[in-house]
Amino acid sequence: MFGYYLDLALRSLRRNKALTALMVLAIALGIGACMTTLTVLHVLSGDPLPGKSAQLYYPQLDPRDMDGYQPGEDPPVQVTWTDGMNLLRAGRADRQALMTGGAVPLQPAQSSIEPFFENARYTSADFFPMFEVPILYGRPWTAADDEAHARVALISRKLNDKLFQGRDSTGETLRMNDVAFRIVGVLDSWRMTPHFYDLNNGSYAEDEGVYLPLTTAYELKLGRNGSTDCWGKGSDPDHMDTAPCVWLQYWVQLDTPAKAAAYKQFLIHYSQEQKALGRFQRPPNVRLPDVMGWLDYNKVVPGDVRLQAWLALGFLLVCLVNTVGLMLAKFLRRSAELGVRRALGASRREVFMQLLVESGVIGLTGGIAGLLLSLVGLWLVRKQPSDYAALAHLDLPMLLATFLLAVGASLLAGLLPAWRACQVTPALQLKSN
């Protein structure tokens, strides 16, 4: 029966090609626009480390003086060198890393490559296991290297390809800012989306090319990229380790909720202790968001992307209403034909099924065309200048969602017209002719 209905549907659709094309195009445009924007939204609001992110926390303290104090105010979004180092050395979490972004002038050994700036991350040893950074060659540096201010570096796979043509470069020397570093490891391809561990240089920034111990970078006064927020005496370029400024990010790994609760208590005790010492002046003001909480707090997904998704949903709605109207008019126009079928013994259910197959064909064709259009749309997004542009790719969940949306939309667009059309009274239709 299905085959027969399909044949009927195709015949009917062929009879009015322009109209069929219009209906298919409307659905395709609507679904294409929707899936493009929803995919971008999905990619940008995703979990950067699924399965791990709930165990990673971002401790916040309030070390500021009483100037401008307002009870209930949010604590600063970064930590001072003193607090960062204190917490790092206390080692109360399962893993912990202190870090900041930077940029280093890199001087390749080959004379064919001019010196260039490479984005860097100055951090401590736990960074790599804590964020599950894949290592292609070698290994991360150790806590002892941190203590010794060792001249060691890890580099990204991309940089390794550029400087060493992809071979195992561990043990090689890399000159940065006139200082020789020993490469101890090469990362495998790795990109955190969003760039959650440091949102200062763009929420969707690419991961860094060079990784150095924070202690080494500070000793060598390597250039920083990021935000510095000071109070009191303000910043002192020579003594950022004692300056009343927050400029570092501190992340901890806490494997169980109980440990997280205990760590929060530890942060409160720490704040009280610092207040007793006279370093802190404000009452303890502690936060401990996990990765997704931290991303929410920072509202990382650009407002424009949300707006585009709303716009596309509105567009799809108009396209659907348009198609429903056209299909309804088309089905009602065939009342006579349907009346004949009904009079010849077809049940209302069968007529309904027949019309549903016809609208289903339109919906499905529109859906498939919409999927192709969303691929074109995503390609267009990737041509955009935004820093997240390169991330706009369709993944499996979104592919399935597109299919569900297409089927759902086509059913929705077909149900009402089919139901309305099969309500015709056969006798009346026959009589009117």
Partner: protein, 407 residues
């Protein structure tokens, strides 16, 4: 024109008519808001900077390793850059409009107040105003002997207290002292008093840190930068010389010190275009969606109109046989469309208002100006009439003889 027969016909096509009304309403609501958003973006892209944009180029130079004497190094660079033919003025500054790096500080009107009055941007650099081409509207520019070295000031609290003059924008002055002249007034940064010695017409904050409403809250201080604490050389030249001067500047800087990296050789026009690229892309996208929406709606009207005409062929024939002219058939369909469009537009206005409220709540957008409503209405009426013209003319062409035939 008789409206009653139209209404009675529409009553028999309730659902189809309702869908058409709904489509027109949604299109009207979305297009009104989208056009408003486009205008907002275009307005934003026109934001005034207060600097001579078409005459400025920027080039960044970063030394590798330690520089022995950063001050002398910077002065050598500046002297060499001034020698380039066509260069009118050169400055080494801490920040440049329309870039994403900015220095900001909180400002107080009274050192004892607990909450700062506002947050404003700090521009540093010898000869900055003259090079930027920022227009002074009151007071004076800094005297050459007023400048202190940033390198020393940042490390010496006593010396920092000797920075006592500031030049601010007119907007910032009006915000701090509404209705009064800012000239000669005192503001406080971290407890230190600064006297306003000059007021400029405008000078935009680099990253628009603090939102568009505070875009002009800038202050300029008499501080001299060196190659250690600043990297941005700004050069003023004639518009037609910009590319040549940029190339010459890069060569000069490299010749002065080969041991460094030269970056960001750009005209300020390019820097500005980059800064607003997201706005431009969004405006383009919104315009595309508007056009697509209007086209889909127009085609929908054509489609439905064609159906109705085909369905009513017999009726039209009868009417023609009974003496109706071609013109009255044409007008019948035009009036029908006008009626549906009017209901759709009325509904669309309410929807447009609702969407605007939603956007105001979530995207800090202003209220939709009232004149968008009549413009939106006229646009949709026009589109409706144009779209229905084809089917209506086909209806008018139905010969009276159809009445005598059975289908």
């Amino acid at each position: 024109m008789d409206i009653l027969p139209i209404l009675s016909t529409l009553r028999r096509h309730k659902i189809t008519a309702l869908l058409l009304v709904l489509e027109i309403a949604l299109t009207c609501a979305i297009v009104c808001n989208a056009v408003f958003l486009i205008n907002q973006r275009l307005e934003r892209m026109k934001m005034a900077s207060g600097v001579a944009e078409h005459e400025l180029v920027q080039i960044q130079a970063f030394g590798i390793g330690d520089t022995a004497d950063a001050k002398a190094h910077a002065q050598e660079d500046l002297t060499a850059l001034r020698q380039i033919p066509g260069v009118k003025s050169v400055a080494l500054v801490n920040q440049v409009p329309f870039t994403n790096s900015s220095w900001n500080t909180s400002v107080k009107l009274d050192p004892k107040q607990n909450q700062a009055t506002l947050n404003a941007t700090q521009y540093f650099g010898e000869n900055l105003l003259q090079t930027f081409g920022t227009r002074l509207v009151a007071g004076r520019d800094f005297a050459p002997d007023e400048y202190l070295d940033m390198r020393l000031v940042a490390r010496d609290e006593k010396l920092a207290k000797k920075v006592v003059s500031v030049i601010i924008t007119r907007d910032l002055g009006q915000k701090l002292w509404p209705g009064q002249s800012a000239l000669g007034k005192t503001l406080y940064l971290g407890g230190d008093p600064m006297r306003v010695v000059g007021v400029v017409a405008g000078l935009i904050r680099p990253s628009l840190f603090g939102g568009d409403a505070t875009a002009q809250w800038s202050m300029v201080f008499p501080l001299r930068m060196d190659s250690d604490n600043a990297s941005r050389y700004v050069i003023r030249t004639a518009p037609q010389d910009r590319e040549r001067v940029l190339a010459a500047a890069a060569a000069t800087l490299r010749k002065n010190d080969p041991h460094r990296i030269i970056l960001e050789k750009k005209t300020l026009d390019d820097i500005r275009a980059d800064f607003f690229q997201d706005d431009r892309a969004m405006a383009g996208l919104l315009a595309g969606v508007c056009i697509a929406l209007l086209v889909v709606t127009a085609l929908g009207i054509v489609g439905l109109g064609s159906f109705w005409v085909a369905q009513r062929r017999r009726t039209i024939g009868v009417r023609r046989a009974l003496g109706a002219t071609r013109g009255s058939i044409l007008r019948y369909f035009q009036t029908e469309n006008f009626l549906l469009a009017t209901i759709g537009i009325a509904l669309g206005m309410v929807l447009a208002y609702g969407i605007n409220l939603f956007l105001m709540l979530h995207y800090e957008l202003p209220r939709l100006p009232a004149y968008y409503f009549p413009i939106g209405a006229i646009a949709l009426w026009l589109i409706g009439q144009v779209a229905v013209l084809g089917p209506a003319m086909r209806a008018a062409a139905v010969p009276p003889v159809v009445a005598t035939r059975s289908v």
